[in-house]
């Protein structure tokens, strides 16, 4: 049986208390929400915090508030709660789809939205036991000095593997970060760095407390996820797209986000710029797919061949845009997602 290393355990009741603990412990402490990412990492000795600070007992992190102007989601809302919440079907579909496609039903009952947004970047050279990593003399992300994905690289190439971040970026989401000295709101699109080691701008003393999404009334959104199996697997490529389309079919606003193709979710700016003011049709979708796929730079550190993942990027953008256009792509969706739900 794999065992956790020893740790000190703290269970604050308020956000304020939690912020105080993090401030005192510095990088030695890590917040624990659903535990589905952190505990495996601890068992593999990838992350060995001295202190685990449970967020489970902080009431204010568990709310879902849906208002006219938008929604506020506590960081500890579970992915199952989001997937099951009918309010996310209108405009926020991409978020519900992303949440419902994470891992397995059991994990979605445990894993939280905040945890999925803070998910450690993943890599086949990193998500391994201590003994395995020792056999390759470790890697740049942990205990070593070579990135084995790209041995010449000065930077860690571990992959952003969150499902909800691409969806929420497409929906223009923000996060509220709270520390002992104050709080700040950050556009989710600005939360991540394209660096597998230093992948998130959340400071060690900050708690990701809340996710805010403005009302997306009049928008349509969708999320496509590539993985080998119908469950368990992390995305090895994902496409989130959200658009506001006028009654005459002209795109007024659109965001396309490529997930799991770099150390952070990638916003396909050129594709979006190209689409605004146009209608969705075979030609415009094809052009947007080319522009969007261009930014994806998958590497050989996840499941599937990297050049094939790149190839599928364009196809997924096409499926996503066709879906927003109103095409029936249910059979493609069912085939790739291996599920009929959502």
């Amino acid at each position: 049986m794999m065992r956790l290393p020893l740790f000190d355990f703290r269970a604050p009741r308020t956000l304020e208390e939690a912020a105080r603990i993090l401030d005192g412990e510095g990088t030695q402490a890590m917040p624990l929400a659903g535990g589905t990412d952190l505990l495996p990492n601890m068992k593999r000795r990838q992350q060995v915090p001295k202190t685990l600070m449970s967020l489970r007992y902080i009431e204010e992190l568990n709310h879902i508030r849906m208002e006219h102007s938008g929604s506020r989601l506590g960081a500890c809302v579970t992915l199952a709660d989001i997937a099951a919440n009918m309010h996310f079907r209108n405009g926020l579909t991409a978020l519900a789809q992303a949440a419902s496609l994470v891992a397995t039903p059991h994990i979605r009952n445990m894993a939280t939205l905040g945890g999925n947004l803070c998910l450690d970047t993943r890599c086949n050279y990193y998500d391994q036991n201590y003994e395995w990593r020792k056999a390759i003399d470790f890697c740049l992300k942990k205990d070593g000095d070579t990135c084995w994905v790209a041995p010449g690289s000065p930077k860690c190439m571990a992959v952003s593997s969150t499902d909800t971040a691409p969806a929420l970026i497409a929906l223009g989401g923000r996060v509220r970060l709270v520390s002992r000295t104050g709080e700040r709101e950050v556009l989710l699109a600005d939360l991540y760095n394209n660096d597998g080691l230093d992948y998130i701008k959340r400071k060690p003393n900050e708690i990701l407390a809340e996710v805010l999404v403005d009302s997306r009334h009049g928008w349509k959104s969708t999320y496509w996820k590539l993985r080998r199996r119908g469950s368990f697997d992390f995305p090895v490529l994902s496409v989130a797209a959200a658009a506001r389309i006028s009654e005459s079919g002209v795109i007024e606003d659109v965001r396309i986000v490529i997930g799991s193709a770099a150390s952070r979710p990638l916003v396909a700016v050129d594709a979006a710029t190209f689409l605004v003011g146009r209608t969705l049709n075979t030609d415009s979708i094809a052009e947007a797919a080319v522009l969007a796929a261009r930014i994806a730079k998958p590497l050989d550190n996840t499941d599937f061949d990297m050049s094939w993942r790149k190839k599928v990027t364009g196809e997924f953008v096409t499926f996503a845009l066709r879906e927003l256009q109103g095409d029936d792509v249910r059979s493609e969706r069912e085939s790739f997602m291996r599920t009929r739900s959502l």
Partner: protein
């Protein structure tokens, strides 16, 4: 029949659905200590020095063992005893164990591993068979053929060149089958104790308690009679728990030294290092056919990646060529196989042992042949299918063969004639067939004793206890025993108590491998039960004053079949018999019939009878991405007699599941880092997450049909079902992909990337195919020439060196699994 053939609750079901089945890791004993193994981080190295003093001094640590404590070599086959429980001076793959820590807590043992200092001297690393052929030194083992070649075989049954000369068309194809692993959900675990008398008892998740018993006696230098092995129910085996393992030997030694119970439960990563899974095999098929599809000759070459140890590898090597002849009539057949050592966890027997890879090649090649000859692939197979009671070119005696009926059923059920080459682009169907052994005809070590024994004890209260070494690995071996005994004695299966998998309590059964339990333990049980019935019948007939032939055993009574009200309860019947003859206990045993394959190597492949399977797989392939989905599978299996149809169907569907995993996604893959930067050669993903086992969402609907014509060799006519139905799935998927999008994937697994690459070839008007194109040069030995039966052969090779008059013990013979 009231029990046999009736779908029913398996005898051990209640324990399984209540969580009461006691798997090895569920065993907790007072004062129990925990063991962890320190494993080599290097793929190939000499051990210069091991210093465990810091670990020994660590609080909570009871004992540290290293190679010198257990130096005696062992291994499943007497011809390749090349393993040490802890490596003494040579590590051969990442994960090879070098030391063990036994401590009060498992966490303590794990942490103390980091306190053992090992100095290694790196050796050149060999990652695949081609490299092994090109790198004779350093040798991974100092035995075998030469260099890093473990085993080379060459057999020719009839003049195959003449076969090709007689052909209208000759086909040459190369295929690659990637390695994969069993992935039982239960990780291997063992608990050992020194019992109060000072003897050793070990509970272990093993499929082969008898072979573990032998290995323990050898390595620990103990009398076998002082060792008791209890195989706990296995949480899945599939062949992965059939070798004696280093961790089993280590906890046994530790328990003896410490005089306290010692447990080990492997982590998932360690299970990947135990491996013994499917060998990666490169294959070259050359097949001659007449215009009507008749095969005139076949030449098969296999190059096998054995990994770091022998395991069952010698048998595996023969198996890659043994069963080609058992499905279709092949008048002339040449087989050459070569297994090399590489610095990776050892390969061994996985469901379908050694026959799965060449079956893939043969069935895909037949699909190509059918297309070239413009014959429907189902019709082609019907023309060439082997028939009952045939003796094959390589002298395997077949029994009942219902392959043709299997083909007809899947063709009908799948609506094949309306689908094949008629579905829209992107959809396709593929068909494939197979045959598999019902038990290996020879044991793993040379002996003339029975392969299985059953002892039945009749209690005067009417209780019946069955004792047998057979091992329950989920396949239902306990239910087979209970079902047969219950049927013969007219009881309910739940009236029977089973004591199985225990080397102290039951007579030897060789283990749960090679699909042997139903036929061997089943026949032994049948014999023991019939002997018991005869004794009881004698006493009851006397009491009822009727001829014993008129007695019937049913509904827990023994009665006059002419006047059913006249009779006694089963309990009364036992009491009558016990009063008349004394305490009642009977024995049964089973030894397979002698095989006509007398040539060297002919020990691998003979079986009392063979099962047959045909399958049709439907696929949908997205032409833009190569993404493949399987909506439905139809399968028909020639079972002889389904002892418990519920379990038989479960074995068929489970085989389809595992086959589909192999076909589409499962891979035991390795990664070598850039050589100038690193020495590393590691398993790419030793985890449940990255080793892709299909989930409930990935599994299609399976339509199973059982063909039941009783086989005279099987108990109540039963044949095997645990392995055969896996074999046709991979080639049927490949053939269906061709039907869907017109590309050949001559490699397993069949992934979207490979389909895309083949589609790109097709688009560029090149050969629409993905797969290997070259087979490296191997210095094959001169073939043993065995004239087939129709050329007057007697089963011996004509050019073999004469055998010694007396068979030498053990090491002389190549035997089977």
């Amino acid at each position: 029949m009231r029990v046999i053939g009736v779908p029913r609750r398996r005898v051990d079901a209640r324990a399984k659905v209540t969580g009461q089945t006691r798997f090895a890791d569920d065993i907790v004993l007072p004062r129990m200590a925990y063991c962890k193994l320190l494993r080599s981080p290097h793929p190939h190295a000499r051990i210069r020095k091991i210093d465990s003093s810091r670990a020994t001094a660590h609080p909570g640590v009871y004992l540290v063992l290293s190679g010198k404590d257990l130096p005696i070599e062992y291994g499943i086959l007497p011809v390749s005893e090349d393993e040490q429980a802890l490596c003494v001076d040579h590590v051969r793959h990442v994960g090879d164990p070098v030391a063990a820590v036994i401590a009060r807590e498992e966490l303590t043992a794990f942490e103390a591993l980091g306190l053992i200092d090992v100095e290694y001297e790196m050796l050149t690393t060999i990652s695949d068979p081609e490299e092994a052929l090109a790198t004779p030194a350093p040798r991974i083992h100092d035995y075998g053929e030469e260099g890093n070649i473990h085993k080379r075989v060459s057999l020719e049954f009839g003049d195959v060149e003449q076969g090709f000369a007689d052909a209208d068309e000759v086909f040459e194809d190369t295929f690659f089958y990637q390695g994969n692993t069993h992935l039982p959900i239960e990780q291997h675990a063992s608990v050992a104790i020194k019992d109060p008398e000072g003897k050793l008892t070990i509970w272990s998740s093993t499929q082969t308690p008898h072979y573990l018993h032998r290995a323990l006696a050898k390595v620990l230098r103990m009398l076998p009679g002082h060792i008791r092995v209890i195989a706990t129910p296995n949480g899945g085996g599939f062949g992965g728990k059939s070798d004696p393992f280093n961790h089993e030997i280590v906890v046994a030694k530790a328990a003896l030294l410490l005089d306290r119970p010692v447990k080990i439960c492997l982590t998932r990563e360690e299970v990947f290092y135990c491996h013994r899974g499917r060998h990666p095999v490169l294959m070259k098929f050359k097949t001659g056919v007449k215009k009507d599809g008749t095969i005139t000759g076949m030449h098969l070459q296999t190059l096998i990646d054995g990994g770091a140890y022998g395991s069952y590898g010698v048998a595996s090597t023969f198996y890659t060529g043994a069963l080609q002849t058992t499905t279709y009539h092949i008048p002339r057949y040449k087989f050459q196989g070569c297994r090399t050592f590489t610095n990776k966890p050892p390969c061994g027997p996985k469901r379908g042992h050694g026959t799965v890879q060449p079956r893939f090649g043969q069935e895909v090649q037949l699909d190509k042949i059918a297309e070239k000859l413009s014959i429907d692939p189902a019709d082609l197979r019907l023309r060439i299918a082997e028939s009952s009671n045939a003796v094959t070119a390589n002298f395997f005696r077949l029994s009942v063969v219902n392959l043709s009926e299997c083909i007809r059923r899947v063709v009908k059920n799948s609506d094949w004639k309306e689908k094949f080459r008629k579905l829209p682009e992107g959809r396709g169907v593929g068909l494939a067939c197979s045959a598999y052994l019902t038990g290996a005809g020879l044991p793993i070590y040379w002996n003339k004793m029975p392969h299985s024994g059953v002892h039945i004890k009749f209690d005067r209260g009417g209780g019946v206890a069955v004792f047998c070494g057979a091992t329950e690995i989920g396949q239902g071996s306990d239910d087979v025993l209970a079902g047969i005994v219950a049927e013969v004695l007219g009881l309910d299966t739940f009236d029977i108590r089973l004591y199985t998998g225990d080397t102290d309590l039951g007579p030897v059964d060789l283990g749960s491998y090679s699909s042997r339990v139903t036929i061997m333990a089943g026949n032994a049980a049948l014999q023991a039960a019939e002997r018991g019935r005869a004794i009881i019948a004698e006493a009851v007939a006397e009491r009822l004053a009727i001829p014993k032939e008129r007695l019937r055993f049913a509904d827990k009574r023994v009665f006059d079949s002419a006047a059913p009200e006249k009779g006694v309860t089963f309990g009364e019947a036992v009491r009558l018999a016990e009063a008349r003859f004394g305490t009642i206990g009977t024995m049964g045993s089973y030894t397979p019939p002698k095989s006509p394959a007398l040539y060297k190597g002919g020990g691998v492949g003979p079986s009392p009878t063979y099962s047959y399977t045909a399958a049709v797989v439907e696929v949908i392939v997205n032409p833009a991405t190569g993404w493949i989905t399987v909506p439905k599978i139809w399968i028909a299996h020639d079972i002889g007699c389904a002892l418990n149809p519920t379990l038989v169907r479960g074995q068929v569907e489970g085989s389809v599941y595992m086959g589909l995993g192999e076909a589409l996604m499962e891979e035991q893959e390795f990664r070598r880092l850039p050589k100038k930067l690193s020495h590393a050669l590691v398993h790419k993903f030793p985890s449940m997450l990255e080793y892709k086992s299909p989930t409930s969402l990935d599994m299609p609907e399976v339509m199973t049909e059982l063909i039941e014509e009783p086989d005279p060799r099987g108990p109540f006519g039963a044949k095997e079902v645990g392995q055969g139905p896996l074999l046709p799935i991979m080639p049927a998927v490949a053939n269906a992909v061709y039907d869907a999008v017109g590309v050949r994937i001559d490699e397993v697994p069949i992934t979207p990337e490979k389909i895309m690459k083949a589609l790109a070839e097709k688009k560029a008007s090149r050969e629409p195919r993905f797969g290997p194109s070259h087979f490296p040069h191997v210095d094959w030995p001169e073939a043993l020439r065995v004239p087939p039966p129709w050329e007057g052969g007697d089963g011996n090779a004509v050019n073999d060196v004469p055998r010694p008059s007396k068979p030498k013990p053990e090491k002389e013979k190549v035997l089977s699994s």
